[in-house]
Structures are given as structure tokens and as C-alpha cells.
Symmetry: C2
Subunit: 408 residues, 2 copies
């Protein structure tokens, strides 16, 4: 295990053209010239995965998952080979490795496989010969030797898993933004780049809609103690370090504000308020692998009936509605309402644990702007609210100011 | 070993669009519905390999061969996955296999590897479950588990090798022409499709410039006794069977006429006519892996010096000239002349073995049209001549008529 090793992951937009691939090669070579051992993990060139997926859907309404994995994995194989060729072209010896060659073994859940183990012996041997290793991200093999993929953003997870397996100094996630911000800078102009953020906060940011890192990669980094950095593929500036809480000297109460427009709300009116009804509602959804996020059950108002509201992702809305309508008799509700014009806004910070009143100040700030809160959910370090989608930007700016996050 | 198995290979132009892939899927399904076990071998979609190769060359003057193989093999993986998905979409169960998964093990010569063995156990198991097997052509793995490729047209060889390993009834090579013709129909309008041709003739046709089949695939089919058929990917007409000589009832003296414009002529004037000089000339060319095809040494005319003429492919011309100029002192020639405006025209037929005068009638026919023959080479079943390129079409039409091949 080299303690001199750095893992660098480059996303699709960083590899979107041959010019950009050359740029990445220069950046990798620079690290190696500075004396580092470098293992690179690459995504497919921007747009490639979507293009392949669209082709599959044109050929079949429901493309076989095993064949889809074989298809999609080609994107990362191509970019790993091209980056390795570009490195050779600059006199920097490199070896491209596929998921199988890097020993990334997964379970058999095609299109969203989970890593079972990494046998990185070949990568270790190659690093010893002073070559850069360029790994095709997003992919592994199952026990049968079939290609599997790790789901959208899976290259982040490949990178963290390899960094953990090889005991790398740090795992640098190079992307088209230069770090993690207090809020999306495209919406909140006063958003600031965070120098450090805790794993827990990053996890909440990622799962609440910030698209910087795949949620699973953060979970894995936290579990395995991999030091993560999110930084630019193009500029030479330091990014955001994702670290343990004890590495953060001065804790902010709120570190960041995330949002997701990928939400839809379903309300079942006139549900019988009796034991077992929740199981009747959420059972069919679970059977259809539909994830339910926020849930609110109103107080029973008339004759033992109540309303139940919950959220699912936009992708799942149609299937969720169909599943519930097919069970209408069984569940026994009066009416089903759905609303796709909603957004979830979340304030996140480990400091909440020791500070009371964060939720209250959030509700107050939103109320002052006339923003109605539809659903609320909280965790130890997060408060999320569902609002009408048209209020998203206003809510984000209001909260960013209210929690003192605006850049000076 | 199923004796009910048919191997079908589809080339890049047959898979050049999603519509065409659907067409191929229909054709495969039809064979399966007729009760056949089907193993399909696919090339990359038309243009894909060239596109990837151009990218590699833009990133490096001399792309690493190992990485180039990883890169290029993606094209066939994509088309195999897409065809398998299309088959599923039509209710025809299929499994796509990569070179590794079909057990195609090669030597370590990246970009032009040779097959060492095929362990087709997985394909056999899949066929037993009544699935179509869709193999990515052109690729295998070496002993280290690295991807190798079999050179241009390598999918033909993959198909024949799999047909041999599995004891298939026949190996059908589906392409954009509907068979092997007596001559290129784009040039000779009266060219006829051959119902049958011998392996030896097909081998000469392929190596003399007919682009229907990769030479190595014919060699392998001949050696392993695989019945080959060349036929259309688009039309439902029988093609050309490539068979043993004893399967041909009525032998034509000349079966076909091939040509190649990919030729260049080099003449060394004033070479010392003494033992060892040929080795001095061809040694440096062999060292540079430059294949020399036709060779003519003139009779010594003055003071023990002679002229020596030979041909190389266009690709190799610059390197051949450079190699010979660097050894000018050592070889001792007066002048080097090169000419890229030449073409090789070959008449081919196993019937030549028992018929005298084929070469003579060739020279006579060409002379009558005023076509000058620059170099001649012969084999047991072939006579080739080098002519000025501008005479190619005239030479082909003249010979086609002279040997009685014109369609009535």
C-alpha cells in the first residue's frame, strides 16, 4: 500500500472532447512529475452514456439489464483507453484497466450493482513499475464474469473504493465545479465555496439534491475513512475537503442549503385511520421498488378518516400512481391527488445537533416571504421542506441570507 | 456439439444504424424460429472503428497497441449488446458475449493477434437454454486477460473459429454484397455471382484484393473444414458457398478476376548482380515488417549490373523507400525509382492446374488492348500482372470476356 498514492477521478464533462482529454492528461502527468503515484478513474465522455442508453431504448421498451450494462460500460472503457493513449503521447507511461482488470467484483444487481470486494493486485503491480493506472469507472464484474455497472455517478464510488483498497492518501474528485458550495451558485450568487465539509453533511447535501458526488461514494468514504476532495478539472485552485467532524475547527450551524426539483407529491384523501393502513399503502410501492421520501399523516379530522401525503421522485410518479390506483379498493381512500410542481429545500449542518431553533428560524424566514410549507422532514443534521416549485429560488436565497451564509 | 447450429456473421454496414440492427435481429429470429440454434458474430457499426482509431491518432502519433485494442474492441461490444437488446425486444431471448466470455484466447500480438484456442463452454451452455448467442467479433483476450484484436476484418475469423470450435453446420458471412462475383460488379457490369467457389480460389481472391472475406478466415475455414457461405444481410437470396474442390461439379478454368490498387512498385537500377545482393535489399525491408509481394530481377545487361523490381502495399511505400535509401551504400545501386500508379490484376481458378496456356492467353488479351505488363507473378491457381493503374478497368473487362465469364 503506497502512502504516496493519489486517486484522481475525472467526470464526463472533464473528458468531453479530445482537447479536454489532453488537458486531463497534462494534469495527471503534473501530479506524477511531482513524485506522486497516480491512479485515475474516468467516467464516459460527456453525453456518451445517454447516447448509448437512448439507442437501447429505441431497440426495446425494456432493455435487458445485463445487456445494458455491457453496452454502457463501453463508454468508460473508451475514455480510459483514450486517456492512457494521451498520457503515452506525452511521454507518461500508463496502463488502462477495465473493471474486471482492476478486480472490482460486485453483486449481480445489473445497472445498480454494489461492490463486494476489490482485488487490486494488478493495479498495485503496475504502480510499482512507475506507470499511471487509468481505470474505467462505473463498472465491475459479477461472479459469472459478466459486466455490471454501479448506477449513475458510479465512477465516484469506483474511485473511493479503489482509494480505500489501495490505502491512497486522498481521493480527488475532479469535476466541472471547483468545490462544494453553500448553495448552487447558479441560483444564489452569494454562495461561497466551503473549504471543508463533514462526511455527514456531504451525505445529506448529495442525497438532498446537490449533484457534486454520488451519495454512495460519500457513504463509502465515510465508512472507510477516505479523505475526499472535490475540485476543478480545469483550474489550479484547491477545492473542498470532505473530512471527519473533528477536523473542522469552527463549526457553522448551517453549512449548506440543497434543493431538488426531482420531487413529486402524492396525497391520499380520506384514508381510514386505523392500524395496518400504512402497510397497505407503502407495500405496493416497495414491491415496485419505488422509494418514498417525505411522509406526513394528518390528524384524523372526521369519522376516523385522515389524509396521507408523501413524496417520490419524478421518475417514479406515474408508476406510483398506477400502483395505488390498482389497490384502491384494498387501501380504501376517497381520492388520490398528485402534484409534480414541488421542490424540496434542505438546510444542512452538523452544528444543528448543538443548536436549537434551526427549524423554527427556517419556517419563520419562509413565512415572511409568503412561502407555504407543504411537508416537513428532519434528521439530526438536516431540515427539509417541500414547497411549490416556483418558490425554489426565492426560498434558497432567503435561507442563504437568514443563516448568514452570504459571501461578504 | 450441436449439428443444428448455424453461425451467422454480420459486418459493419449490415449494422450501420438502429434500423439495420433491427433488420439483422429479424433475420436472426427467423433462423431461430425455423428451428436452428444460432450463434451470431457482429462487427462494429459501420465507421465506428475508424472513428475510434482517428481519436487515438489525434492523441498520440503512435498509440500504444495494447490501449488501442481496448479502445477498438468497444465497437463490437456495443453492437453485440445492441443486437441482443433488439432480439429481446422482439421476444427472442439472447445473450451477448465478449471475446473473453466466448473463450477466445489469442497470443499477445496486440492489434493483429492470432487465435490460440477457443473455450466455448459458456456459449454451449447458453445455446442449450434456447438462447441466441451474440458474440462481439474481432476480439479476444491474451493470457494476461488483456483485450486483443484480430486485425481488420477479424470478425470473419472470429466467426469461422467459433463455427469450427462448436462444430457448426455452416458459417454464413452476411455482408453488403450477396455473394462472391467473378469480378467486381461495380467495374465489370457483366460479372456473375458464383454459386460455389473452392477455398483455394477464395483465398487467392481475398489476398489478391477482393474484400469479401478476411484472408485468415478463409485459411482457417479451409484448415478446419468449415462450410462458409457469403450472402446478403438484406436480401433473401442464396449466396456463394465456399467449399472443398471435390464439391464442385463442373470446374471453370478461371473462376474469378481480382484486382488491387493498393500496390506500389519500386525499381532499383544498377544493382550488382552477385550472390547476397537480394538479402541486402530485402533484409532491411523484412526488418521493418514490410511485406514484399511481386519480385522481378532482369537479366544482367552491362558489366555485371542488373535492375530489380518489386511491389509493396501503398501504406508501406514511404517506409520501404526510406529503408532502402538509408542502405544505399551497402546495397550498391545506381538509382531508386518508385511508382504508386500501378494496379495488380489476377486471374484465379483451380482449373488452371489441368489447363495449359492460361497465362499466355492473359498476356495476349492484354497486349491486344495495348496494356503493358510491368511485372508477372504466378502460383498454381493464379496469374497476377502489374499494370499502370489507369488500365485497371479495361484490363478487368478484357479478361472477363476473354475467359468466358461474361453473363449471358
Amino acid at each position: 500500500m503506497s502512502s504516496n498514492l493519489i486517486v484522481q477521478k475525472y467526470g464526463g464533462t472533464s473528458l468531453g472532447s479530445l482537447e479536454k482529454i489532453k488537458g486531463v492528461a497534462k494534469r495527471v502527468k503534473k501530479s506524477r512529475d511531482a513524485g506522486k503515484d497516480v491512479l485515475v478513474v474516468v467516467s464516459a465522455m460527456a453525453g456518451e452514456t445517454d447516447k448509448l442508453l437512448a439507442m437501447a431504448h429505441e431497440l426495446s421498451d425494456l432493455p435487458e439489464r445485463r445487456e445494458t450494462d455491457l453496452l454502457l460500460s463501453s463508454g468508460e472503457r473508451i475514455s480510459s483507453a483514450l486517456l492512457s493513449i494521451a498520457l503515452h503521447g506525452m511521454g507518461c507511461p500508463a496502463v488502462a484497466l477495465t473493471g474486471r482488470q482492476m478486480g472490482l467484483v460486485t453483486d449481480n444487481t445489473h445497472t445498480r450493482a454494489r461492490i463486494k470486494e476489490i482485488n487490486a493486485s494488478r493495479a498495485i503491480e503496475i504502480l510499482k513499475t512507475n506507470h499511471v493506472v487509468v481505470c474505467a469507472g462505473f463498472q465491475g464484474v459479477n461472479d459469472m464474469g459478466d459486466v455490471t455497472t454501479l448506477g449513475r455517478g458510479g465512477s465516484d464510488t469506483s474511485a473511493v473504493a479503489l482509494a480505500a483498497a489501495l490505502g491512497a492518501d486522498r481521493c480527488d474528485i475532479h469535476t466541472d465545479v471547483d468545490g462544494v458550495y453553500t448553495c448552487d451558485p447558479r441560483i444564489v450568487a452569494k454562495a461561497c465555496k466551503l473549504e471543508r465539509i463533514t462526511y455527514e453533511e456531504m451525505l445529506e447535501m448529495a442525497s438532498q439534491g446537490a449533484r457534486v458526488l454520488q451519495t454512495r461514494s460519500v457513504e463509502m468514504a465515510m465508512k472507510k475513512g477516505v479523505r475526499l476532495q472535490v475540485l476543478s478539472s480545469f483550474e489550479d485552485v484547491s477545492g473542498t475537503l470532505v473530512v471527519d467532524e473533528d477536523e473542522i475547527v469552527e463549526e457553522a450551524v448551517v453549512s449548506g442549503i440543497a434543493y431538488s426539483r426531482d420531487e413529486a407529491k402524492i396525497t391520499l384523501q380520506g384514508v381510514l385511520d386505523q392500524p395496518g393502513v400504512a402497510a397497505k399503502i407503502f407495500g405496493p410501492l416497495a414491491d415496485g421498488a419505488i422509494n418514498v421520501d417525505m411522509i406526513v399523516q394528518n390528524v384524523s379530522v372526521d369519522s376516523g378518516r385522515t389524509d396521507l401525503t408523501f413524496t417520490v421522485t419524478m421518475d417514479d410518479l406515474q408508476r406510483a400512481v398506477a400502483a395505488l390506483e390498482s389497490k384502491r379498493e384494498d387501501i380504501g381512500y376517497r381520492q388520490l391527488l398528485s402534484d409534480a410542481n414541488v421542490a424540496k429545500v434542505s438546510v444542512i449542518g452538523v452544528g444543528m445537533r448543538s443548536h436549537a431553533g434551526i427549524a423554527q428560524s427556517m419556517f419563520k424566514a419562509l413565512a415572511e416571504k409568503g412561502i407555504n410549507i407543504q411537508v416537513i422532514s428532519t434528521s439530526e443534521i438536516k431540515v427539509s421542506v417541500l414547497v411549490a416549485e416556483e418558490y425554489t429560488e426565492l426560498a434558497l436565497r432567503t435561507l442563504h441570507t437568514a443563516y448568514g451564509l452570504d459571501a461578504v
